[in-house]
């Protein structure tokens, strides 16, 4: 009985450990193997192609577009949500009235799925339906906002919708962290005559480091996974100008019968996540120790 009790924690963790080992790490390994095969419509493990699948993906014009878009989207999405989230959090932290209601309003987009956000913004940004038409009706005839129909600007529409959706969440993270800043340090700083802005710049924002870490990790992996937003907003168009690595992966695996190339692109997405997030996690967590 005592022996059993000693192993209770391990035993309770065991089922989820097995599940994670199979469904996460097992399938990652399977995808890696798949990316080396010559699988077309169905997974085949008897015909081998090797690393030339990766070369094919790298040389594909669509992958080039996908990476470029990913850089634009990733930087602006993460940067935009951090900036807007932080500013909103600082304003809300001024002990204003109706803070509770405002917080809820800003946080509310998070309750929507990316599909809903995508469809709604598609309507708003569509020139024959949304903002542009509204302004024309109100009398500003020369107003133009047709980015979503232009190949070189459509990706910024995806950024706008994404930032709108996620800024409130980042705000909530920062707000919670702001509330956790040690008030005694702030009082001491004020006694020493530090001004408001410099208190924020030198004391509060550095104290938010863990919140930045959380926000970047959460938003970073959302940016790489981002699929539904693009599908709902532009379907990858006009042409394939808003292609992202995730839409590339889906398209090649499931529509084009190029499963091995799809798997290669999935592995490269995994590498992208690791390249972006692992060093950050590593340095942050080491500092904490």
């Amino acid at each position: 009985m005592r022996l059993l009790r000693n192993y209770v924690p391990q035993l309770t963790l065991l089922p989820s450990l097995i599940l994670v080992a199979i469904t996460v790490y097992g399938f990652i390994a399977l995808t890696m193997v798949l990316s080396l095969t010559r699988s077309k419509m169905l997974p085949r493990f008897d015909r081998w192609e090797g690393f030339s699948n990766y070369l094919k993906v790298w040389n594909h014009p669509r992958w080039e577009v996908a990476l470029e878009n990913f850089a634009i989207f990733g930087i602006l999405y993460i940067g935009g949500t951090l900036l807007i989230g932080l500013v909103l959090a600082i304003f809300l932290d001024q002990r204003i009235r109706i803070e509770g209601s405002l917080r809820t309003i800003y946080l509310y987009p998070m309750a929507l799925s990316f599909i809903v956000t995508g469809v709604a913004w598609q309507w708003i940004m569509s020139p024959d339906l949304g903002l542009e038409r509204a302004f024309h009706i109100w009398g500003w005839e020369s107003f133009r906002f047709d980015w979503i129909k232009q190949s070189d600007l459509a990706i910024y529409c995806v950024v706008i919708a994404g930032v709108w959706q996620a800024s409130g969440f980042v705000m909530a993270l920062f707000l919670a962290a702001l509330r956790g800043v040690n008030q005694e340090i702030l009082s001491a700083a004020r006694m020493d005559g530090a001004s408001g802005p410099s208190i924020y710049w030198h004391i509060i924002i550095p104290a938010l480091r863990p919140a930045f870490l959380t926000a970047i990790v959460v938003q970073g992996h959302l940016a790489i996974k981002s699929y539904d937003l693009v599908v709902a907003l532009t379907r990858g168009g006009p042409g394939f100008s808003t292609e992202l690595p995730s839409t590339f992966m889906y398209e090649f695996t499931f529509s084009r019968n190029e499963m091995a190339l799809g798997a290669s692109s999935a592995v490269m997405m995994l590498v992208l996540v690791m390249v972006l997030i692992v060093p950050y996690l590593y340095s942050e967590l080491r500092n904490e120790r």
């Binding site: 419509m41 169905l42 014009p61 979503i148 129909k149 379907r235 168009g237 042409g239 394939f240 084009r256």
Partner: protein
Amino acid sequence: MKLTKTFAVLACTSALAAPAIADEVEVLHWWTSGGEAAAVSVLKSDLEGKGTGWVDMAVAGGGGDAAMTTLRARVTAGDPPTAAQMLGMTVREWADEGFLGNLNDVAAAEGWDDVIPPAVQAFGKYDGNWVAAPVNMHRPHWVWGSAKIFSELGLEMPSTWDEFFAAADKIQEAGYVAVAQGGQAWQEATVWEAVVLGISPDLYRTAIIEADDAALRSEGIVESFEIMRKIRGYVDPNFAGRDWNLATAMVINGEAGMQIMGDWAKGEVIAAGLTPGVEVLCDVAPGTQGSFLFNTDFFAMFDVGDDKQMAQQNMAASAMSVNFQETFNLAKGSIPARTDVPGDKFDVCAQKSMADLAEATASNTLFGSLAHGHGQPAAIQAAYTDVVTQHFNSDMSAEDAAAALADAVMAAK
């Protein structure tokens, strides 16, 4: 094995007389819209009359993408359905993988070889054996015109690209959208293949069916991209992402003059309470008179156990019956894959298709449609579509597009 099959056919013929054996087929398809679903239920009740049950596995959405994903999961798990709706190239790819059954006995008994056009047989057969039953033929290269705008401006349906652009100019001057286009890659590819066929059937054969490098870099392909660029000039600025049926609605409502789209657009016309050929005019795309591109829905038959084979053969026979092909295609807007179905119940556009089909078969200008899964395997088809949509949505020159097309196709091959 051979013996069982003979027995199965014998049993299936006798089953026509005496519906006794309870058996069932499981059918995966994406015919879920009103008219299509009604047509499928004709097949279902026909089979039930013969004592064969029907397990419906309808997977909506994505022009069949979702259905194909489901199918892959089922087959990979070792549990294929009895039959699945597929386009021609997909039939070939599944047959390549060795998963399809054999319909030779029922095909011989019903005389499929005599009533199916050879170009369609090429997809329904694999290595000389029947593996799939063709139920319809769509024709993707039509021009649909608003009768209201055409009569108001005194125009005639164009038969050359010069006439097309002259008409488009007049329509645009009168304040309408000249060409209703949906901005999705497959719709742009639908227009492009019609343009190529219109330039010459030989160009279509060499550059698309044979995917010949020299033909892809030829003057003809450059010309096709120049025509695409000109068409782009008559499309309204909001076309990006638009669905095909919304573009058809623009023609139906008299907001736009013309749309280049397949005969499934008729479904929208009929649903709006109008008659194809009357309120919405139909003619083949400029220069394509006498040629015929097709895309056909097949019921591909999977290699199921001997115990299910009789039901499968039953179903194949029903799907190929004159009665079903007529009912189904009246609802679907296509024409029957059998050439011996009488055309008197069909509208004028379908009757024209039926006449043109005979002409194109005779002159050897009947080809599979690239944009709709009958020209090249999915990977190569996508290489064409990528370049066509990239050119249409940017300011790429026609020469660059032709070179990019040849490079992309050669890389995908």
